[in-house]
């Protein structure tokens, strides 16, 4: 008999019963990215054609916007070339009343949702910060501070649910953004509140120059979901049909009131971070070449061809429509925007403060003096030059 077995000996009370709050196993992502193209899966031909038209249009949009940076018509453009399947699917899985929360690389998703291609580029053109009314297409402002828009998507979805509205918010972020604190806080809030939110991480391999290996030690980004008690899904981000299905399932799950989902789409940023970046400093052509072999547009073309759906009408129709979009975009962007410097003071507060009123008056006087100078010098009356783009009246 040991001391502890003697009658009256001290025994520590057993700890209160513990069990996991959630069974983690169903939350785990697949062991490899989910794919549909090339698997012989049952797929809707209409959806495949729609996705194809959008991908071709999206590829053309990226090319056109990049060209506009070289012509000085855009200040900067973070291209989503190679990631079009994610951009397009994210927009197509949403209903009209749902909300999209894009990051700065997701202009294409806003366009795929129906926004005017030129209007979507306001931020990157530089004539204002958000060039569109977010309410019109229910697209939040493109967010440049990484992951900071994710809590907004959670809050909006939460508010909609409190009001009894059937609204899902889908938020987009990159692999680098998953390291930010706001990513963590957003997922945690969404999980605790069970908000109808879908988080789409486009893992395109790089945060500007930093590869994923320096970003995380997680088995996959999708695995992070388990820590929040929500399902993580891993999908091939270049397989448009697969991304569409996984996101659609997540959206429907959210709509049913079953809470948020984290989706990691594995893809690749074919272009540099932006036109101002030099990708040759941090990655080799071999790697890019491998991913070009797994191009989202080519994958879908191959699938359509194998199913006998890739006829001339499908291909030519998609390309003609894309060229038309590009032409309209060029025309729109080649027009100088009409700028009113007095706008700088118009939207800071609901009503201008006294101080902003004084500062507006100062700028107004400076502009008037500039105009007087031009008139006095026999100026061109606002025809051409920078001053020509400046509207006269205070708004």
């Amino acid at each position: 008999m040991t001391v502890l077995e003697q009658p009256g000996a001290y025994r520590p009370a057993p700890a209160p019963a513990w069990q996991p709050r959630t069974d983690p196993v169903p939350l785990l992502p697949d062991s490899e990215p989910y794919r549909l193209l090339g698997t012989g899966a049952d797929l809707d031909p209409g959806l495949l054609r729609t996705l194809y038209a959008h991908l071709v249009r999206g590829r053309r949009y990226n090319r056109q916007a990049t060209a506009l940076t070289r012509q000085g018509r855009l200040a900067v453009y973070p291209s989503s070339t190679g990631q079009e399947a994610c951009e397009v699917a994210a927009a197509l899985v949403l209903r009209e009343r749902d909300w999209l929360f894009p990051s700065y690389r997701d202009t294409l998703a806003a366009v795929a949702r129906g926004m005017d291609p030129a209007e979507a580029l306001g931020l990157l053109r530089g004539d204002w910060h958000t060039g569109y009314d977010p309410h019109r297409h229910r697209v939040a402002p493109l967010s440049t501070p990484l992951a900071t828009h994710l809590p907004h998507a959670v809050g909006l979805a939460h508010a909609a649910r409190l009001k009894g509205d059937d609204v899902v918010a889908l938020a987009m972020v990159g692999d680098g953004g998953t390291s930010e604190g706001d990513f963590h806080e957003a997922l945690n809030f969404a999980a605790v509140w069970r908000t109808p939110t879908v988080f789409l991480v486009q893992n395109n391999g790089f945060a500007i120059s930093v590869p994923l290996a320096k970003q995380t030690a997680a088995p996959s980004l999708a695995h992070k979901a388990v820590g929040y008690g929500i399902p993580g899904r891993l999908v091939d981000g270049n397989d448009a049909a697969a991304v569409h299905r996984v996101l659609a399932e997540a959206v429907e799950r959210a709509r049913r009131g079953e809470g948020p989902t984290l989706v990691e789409a594995v893809t690749y940023r074919i272009d540099a971070h932006t036109n101002a970046d030099d990708a040759t400093r941090y990655r080799g052509d071999d790697e890019v070449g491998e991913w070009l072999e797994h191009d989202p547009v080519a994958l879908l073309e191959r699938e359509l061809a194998e199913r006998g759906l890739f006829d001339d009408a499908t291909r030519d129709g998609a390309h003609e429509e894309a060229e038309e979009m590009a032409s309209l975009l060029r025309d729109a962007m080649n027009e100088d925007p009409v700028l009113d410097p007095m706008d700088l003071f118009g939207h800071v507060y609901a009503e201008k403060t006294t101080q902003l009123g004084e500062q507006a008056a100062q700028l107004r006087a400076e502009l008037d003096a500039e105009n007087d100078d031009q008139d006095g010098n026999g100026g061109n009356g606002g025809d051409g030059g920078h001053a020509g783009n400046i509207a006269g009246g205070e708004r």
Binding site: H135, T148, P151, V154, L156, A159, E185, V348
Partner: protein
């Protein structure tokens, strides 16, 4: 020698009881008035939602949200996970969908994780969307020292907020203002950082929750004590200090005016300058550190607008330029009555000796 005139009784900020104007009025604390403001706003407007850490069952660590969850349910007054960026970020999304969130940051220094949301989104959303997405969010922040708080519990963080265009920054110093200004903040279509002076939470005044008196709108300062010798420009927790200093100054022959700014942004140049032009001298008093603090901006504004009326440089009495001290040393840091009076004594009163020598006695100190 002019006699000091006190401000309206209901505006007393020094916690001393004044003769009540109505039989139904009882002493109420600032904490009660803040609580009542949220309760009334929630009852009046179903889009008002309160969220924060411990605001639900507990009623907040200062009990400012006491009873709101019981009355309105967890969907209206919600305990959140412990993450300030998440709280404010979620509030942004809620406001985008038409709600009117009132966010509680538990303590001044615990609001810092929410800075990116505040600076990059809350302050800018209206502007970056040309007015399409206004964010009517009230961010309540208990601030300031004097409560014996250990590290990270006593910061005066107003300068950070003031330096951010797009925010309103207000702070009440009276019970009536606590109610009236919080109602105004919640009703505002702009984001308002609502700084609550912790050490005034339990200050009392005759105030009726059934008949809360009208207060001046956000953006207006209030003259809490009329005077003629010099103007003390102050706000929040330093208002009672300045009122006490003004009483003590009578012994020295100074009749000090005390201006309670109430609203740091928008700033009421008109009231401040009207006072300083009349008195010819000004001291700015606040707990926040002096260097880069609100006092520098205020002194510059006064100097730019009142230069020819000034008999002396605008002086500042501020917290030292040090991290907030441990509680056993904080009394040396906080601007007190003596430090305020020392500053007043340095307001170049010599100019009066030469202009009106007959008005001054042998001590050389005197008022107007």
């Amino acid at each position: 020698m002019t006699t000091a005139t006190t401000g309206r009784s209901a505006d007393r900020a020094d916690g001393k009881k004044q003769a009540g104007s109505g039989a139904a009025r009882k002493p109420a604390t600032m904490a009660q008035a803040l609580n009542r403001a949220m309760r009334d706003a929630m009852a009046e407007d179903p889009s008002v939602h309160v969220l924060g850490e411990d605001v639900g069952t507990l009623g907040g660590v200062f009990r400012i949200t006491d009873g709101l969850t019981a009355e309105f349910g967890e969907d209206r007054c919600t305990d959140t996970p412990l993450a300030e960026a998440g709280i404010l970020g979620a509030a942004v999304g809620m406001a985008m969908y038409g709600l009117r969130p009132v966010v509680e940051m538990q303590f001044d220094a615990f609001a810092y994780p929410a800075f990116e949301q505040l600076l990059s989104h809350v302050a800018k959303m209206r502007n970056r969307t040309r007015g399409a997405l206004p964010l009517p969010i009230t961010i309540r922040v208990p601030y300031g020292g004097g409560i014996g708080g250990v590290e990270h519990h006593s910061d005066s963080s107003e300068a950070y907020y003031m330096a951010t265009p797009g925010l309103h920054v207000v702070t009440p110093a009276t019970v009536a203002d606590a109610y009236g200004m919080l109602r105004a903040a919640i009703a505002s279509d702009d984001p308002v950082v609502f700084l609550e002076p912790k050490r005034l939470y339990w200050s009392k005044a005759d105030w009726s929750p059934e008949e809360p008196e009208e207060v001046a709108p956000i953006g207006r300062a209030a003259v809490r004590r009329a005077g003629t010798s010099a103007t003390l420009v102050t706000y929040g927790p330093s208002v009672p200090v300045c009122l006490e200093a003004a009483e003590a100054a009578r012994e020295e022959g100074w009749d000090l005016e005390v201006v309670d700014l109430r609203s740091l942004v928008p700033f009421d140049d008109e009231t401040v300058c009207e006072s300083v032009r009349r008195t010819g001298r000004a001291v700015v008093v606040h707990e926040s550190s002096g260097f880069g603090g609100p006092g520098g901006e205020i002194a510059a504004r006064i100097t730019e607008r009142c230069f020819h009326h000034l008999e002396a440089p605008v002086l500042r009495v501020a917290g030292f330029d040090i991290p907030y001290p441990p509680p056993m040393l904080e009394r040396h840091h906080l601007p007190g009555v003596d430090r305020v009076l020392d500053a007043v004594a340095r307001l170049q009163w010599e100019s009066e000796w030469t202009e009106r020598p007959e008005a001054f006695g042998a001590t050389g100190r005197g008022g107007r």
